[in-house]
Symmetry: C2
Subunit: 641 residues, 2 copies
């Protein structure tokens, strides 16, 4: 009897099917024709039935469904190691956003995604779920690499690297879906970035687009505790009920992170068949916390595992993530029986496919599904020895003792992408060179920026161009009993625009004196009764030194930047890394006076137990400065100094 | 001018010295003569000064101090994957201890340690700190592999695989220290297992031995919250003060785990210069928790990182541990700036050396220290691209993006142990075969044991050989109003040994009916006022079926095992994995009677709203059983049944 001809026969492997019975074949085989699995079973049976053009002997290997990376931003591989160990806001507003604004274009997205695909194939990933910009470029890269991708075009209410408004992104996304949604490897998706970067209108349009084409909707949900707090403050409810009210769950949702969900939110998502993408490394590294995924699984949610982007991980190693996922449930929720290896491997494969709404295509080794397969060497020293008493020990071997680099061969859609650890679809050395070209430009940009406090300031206030300001000023100590009203009266002048305030100044002082000093100021303006009227925050970059000395402690100073401070003092301190920090608290009485037609501001400052008077005026030329210095000299004489 | 001749010159690497200035040389070099580093610096400088017999080009590599695995049980590599996802007691008493009791001998310790050394060298570890049995065998393996080892002979109050008492272990340890303490690679140590397996006498002897030879003392401290609770209950204080009272910290202590230390305990340890070995994977996997090591570091403690044994990890991958250590501090203590990459790499190298009290020898690349070095490829796809803006980015590359398999070459004590990922001191294929021989025996032992409920029971009660017991018994339903006193009086008998108790029975029922049923019984014995007098727990393995039926529901039953239950119901449930569990609660009035010179026990049981009478007697022969069945028949008649 003649045998049926197939394209590829994998033989003699320890076959882990991840099918509904979780069937295992200690000596198993898979037959592949075109892009589909046509048979799964014992090697002897399949060898008796099939003849293949290519036979791959998998002795000493595990044959498993390829891993599914349920959440990443592939192109961000180009930002790996750019900035680490920073608080989320410093990382995001200080580094990621300025660099993305400057560098994220078609080439960046294509090359970055190729780099990510190379890394993922090497670690046994066959499908990934992406969210980024210029997603058509990500699709081109994914197809070039031969991987399967659920690719979400980012939509958010702020201008982004690929759109000035969300209408533009939606339009791009519509075209992207139309172009790609029949491709055998690509599942396009709509990716509203997060609840806190959405409006109800925007969400409505995203859901409409996703349902029109029946594509998934990929978003971030409840990544941080702050997100939940803000949602509650703003909408009177946590994130999921707000999203449900805005009909988000009418789409096939893929929700990344879900670190801070209440049980009721999990139930809402379960009823809506929303998938969860758990990203343990990223959630730890950015200090977001640990998602209670065992609980989600117990409630019936489909939970996959994702690496998140390489900028916050810093790799796309699903073996690491899967092991970490298992470890964290046990260690953080105090029960070593939680997320056992078998369930963890399911999360990395079939449950990931379910979370991405593509389990009809992939996630397990079953007849009729696409041939997305990882062949993983299992007899390396670090995996040795093996115990056969419990057949399911193979899951512990995979999750707890196997490394990404143990993956030997990878097939996606019936096509070999890696064989004996050599990539077959990508020119890796050239890819690294292409990536380096971009990274070198980023490096140069940041090096220039970091070398200079002003440019570092500008990087986080992109819409603001500051001007230098010069002031001529004098500062003298006065007896403590002095009042500003008396001083002005004694000078025979009239005060106007008088105010009282407490000022909390923090000076950042840098090793390089020439760099200047940064001042973060909190101004608490009081009313006449001493009650707080308003608070405002300013950031000032002060010149490194006095520009010119006049007589009587009168000096010309320069401020190179002054603007309201949008971030917290902590943000600026961590972003600028000053060598030392100095704090000064003053109680300030302030007024303006006119003297010989020139306006001066007078500040009477109480600092600790001393009293100082400052007389100041803005200036714009050397001649004007000299003239004003003379006038200040006269005023000083008038008060006896 | 002629150059100085050295043995080995490492050139052109990114040199990470981990010296006190944390000096970095982007193109750096190390010169090695004999077993010592003779120069560290820029490649151009060293090439101008030295000529070497062996020059190793480290282009595209990082040259770092070798990693220091601060806590492991090397030989337990032979138990990797034996039992996973279990609670600590099930894992320990159900699997580890029975297997260790049976298999841990000289050959096990030698081969297991060699296997561990092979894995550790492959992942860049140059020094490890061990605690196990037959430690001289571990030393032989360590020297064979060429690694550096701080090797602690275990001492504990229970019989162990290598000693029947702690006196024996102490004697072994003394000889072990004498034999090895001048060896260039071995630092012998005294290893009292843990506070809860020590007595003050034993600790005193351990400290005396460690101080006599000035060797470290390696122990487990505060691994679990339970350990702290028990210590407080038993000694009125947490673990560290109790150990301090017993003078433990007079020795050079290396304390593994330290998950549940109070701040005062950290301060005590810091003052005593005790080192800490943080084992994040093991602490998560066994659900112990996360040690607050950033806090310990802030208090001045030296914290190294350890893998723990492969039975609870399941690998010895220090890259994984180091990354995890950094991630956990951030994620669990809510601050992404905690344990930044530079500090994490320090913990894996120089701080590890300090924790082990051997920083005069190793842990950094400095002139005069031993040449213990890892050369790590840094331009793989998963490590790409590189940014040079911040020279310290190299630490993030090492900690967050580099894998154990990126280690290219390893030197210990000036000798190459791995070159281009090939082990030079060990015959790896043969080693795997040797390990397999042992693992197959363990596998067969456990397979046999697991196939049989009785042998599985015996494995956890090694000091007890049960006997089969046969009982002849009848059980009849009676009206609810019946009292035992009335029944006995009506029969014209006298009751003795009467008691009242509540019984909570849990039956484990297995898929295989022939396996029998297990009963876990909690007996609450009441006094005449119905107050709780005492509670006891028994575990009974009941025969699969009734052995013989007599008339009138009189049956002969067989119990194959009955003993007091030392573990919790939860333990047994998780250890035996029954298919179903059935719970029965009864209120039992019990007494004994003598009828025709034969003793019977009578149980009047209230179960839910029904009342049953049991009449029972032990039996030992078919003839005796028939006779007693007849007597029971007469008694039943006497009560109208």
């Amino acid at each position: 009897m003649s045998k049926e001809i197939v394209d590829i026969l994998l033989t003699n492997g320890y076959l882990v099917t991840m099918n509904s019975q979780m069937a295992l074949y200690p000596n198993g085989s898979v037959a592949i024709k075109d892009n589909v699995i046509v048979a799964v079973g014992a090697t002897a049976d399949l060898e008796a039935t099939y003849e293949a053009n290519t036979v791959i002997d998998c002795q000493n290997c595990i044959i498993s469904p390829g891993l599914i990376n349920a959440h990443t931003h592939a192109a961000m591989n180009l930002l790996r190691g750019l900035a680490d160990d920073l608080r989320l806001d410093v990382w995001l507003y200080g580094y990621m956003m300025p660099v993305e604004r400057e560098f994220v274009d078609h080439g960046f997205c294509y090359t970055g995604s190729l780099l990510a695909c190379a890394e993922m194939i090497r670690s046994g990933v066959t499908t990934f779920c992406d969210m980024y910009y210029n997603e058509a470029e990500v699709a081109r890269a994914t197809v070039k690499a031969g991987m399967r991708g659920v690719l979400g075009q980012t939509i958010l209410i702020f201008p982004s690297p690929d759109a000035t408004s969300y209408d533009e992104s939606l339009e791009y996304c519509r075209n992207f879906i139309k172009e790609w949604h029949h491709h055998p490897l690509i599942i396009p998706a709509v990716a509203p970035h997060a609840p806190y970067t959405s409006t109800p209108d925007m969400l409505e349009a995203c859901v409409a687009l996703a349902t029109e084409f029946d594509v998934p909707l990929h978003t971030h949900i409840a990544e941080t505790a702050l997100e939940q707090e803000n949602s509650t403050a703003q909408h009177g409810t946590t994130v999921v009920p707000w999203l449900e009210k805005n009909n988000l769950f009418k789409a096939k949702v893929i929700a990344a992170h879900c670190v801070h969900l209440e049980e009721s939110e999990m139930r809402t998502m379960q009823l809506a068949n929303a998938g969860v993408a758990h990203c343990p490394s990223s959630n730890l590294k950015l200090a977001s916390g640990v998602a209670p995924i065992q609980k989600m699984i117990d409630l019936g949610l489909h939970v996959g595992i994702g690496t998140d982007g390489a900028a916050s991980n810093n790799d796309l190693d699903m073996f690491e993530e899967t092991r970490l996922a298992a470890f964290l449930q046990k260690g953080i929720f105090h029960d070593p029986t939680m997320l056992p290896a078998k369930k963890a491997w399911a999360a990395a494969t079939i449950e990931g496919a379910r979370a991405l709404h593509i389990d009809q295509l992939t996630g397990s080794l079953e007849v009729g599904k696409r041939a997305d397969i990882a062949i993983i060497t299992a007899n390396h020293t670090h995996q040795w020895p093996h115990f056969t008493r419990d057949a399911e020990g193979v899951y512990a071997r995979l999750v707890y003792a196997t490394k990404a680099t143990d993956v030997r061969d990878v097939l996606v859609d019936g096509k070999l992408l890696m064989r004996n650890r050599k990539l077959l679809t990508l020119d890796e050395p050239r890819l690294l060179k292409d990536a380096e070209k971009i990274s070198k430009r980023i490096d140069a940009f940041l090096t220039a920026r970091e070398g200079n406090i002003l440019s570092k300031l500008l990087a986080i206030t992109a819409d603001f161009v500051p001007q230098e300001t010069f002031e001529i000023q004098a500062k003298v100590e006065l007896p403590q009993t002095t009042s500003l009203a008396t001083i002005v009266a004694n000078l025979g002048l009239e005060m106007f625009r008088a105010s009282i305030r407490d000022q909390y100044d923090t000076y950042f002082i840098f090793a390089d004196k020439e760099a200047g000093r940064l001042r973060y100021r909190e101004d608490e303006i009081k009313n006449e009764h001493g009650e707080l009227k308003e608070t405002f925050y300013t950031m000032t970059l002060m010149g490194p030194a006095v520009e010119k000395d006049f007589a009587n402690s009168i000096v010309l100073t320069r401020a190179r930047y002054m603007a309201s401070a949008r971030h917290s003092l902590r943000f600026y301190r961590e972003y600028f890394h000053p060598k030392t920090v100095q704090e000064i608290i003053k109680h300030r009485q302030r007024c303006h006076v006119r003297y010989h037609d020139t306006e001066f501001s007078l500040n009477l400052d109480q600092i600790a137990d001393k009293t100082y008077l400052e007389i100041k005026s803005r200036t714009w030329s050397a001649k004007d400065a000299t003239h004003k210095a003379e006038l200040i000299g006269e005023l000083l004489k008038g008060i006896g100094k």
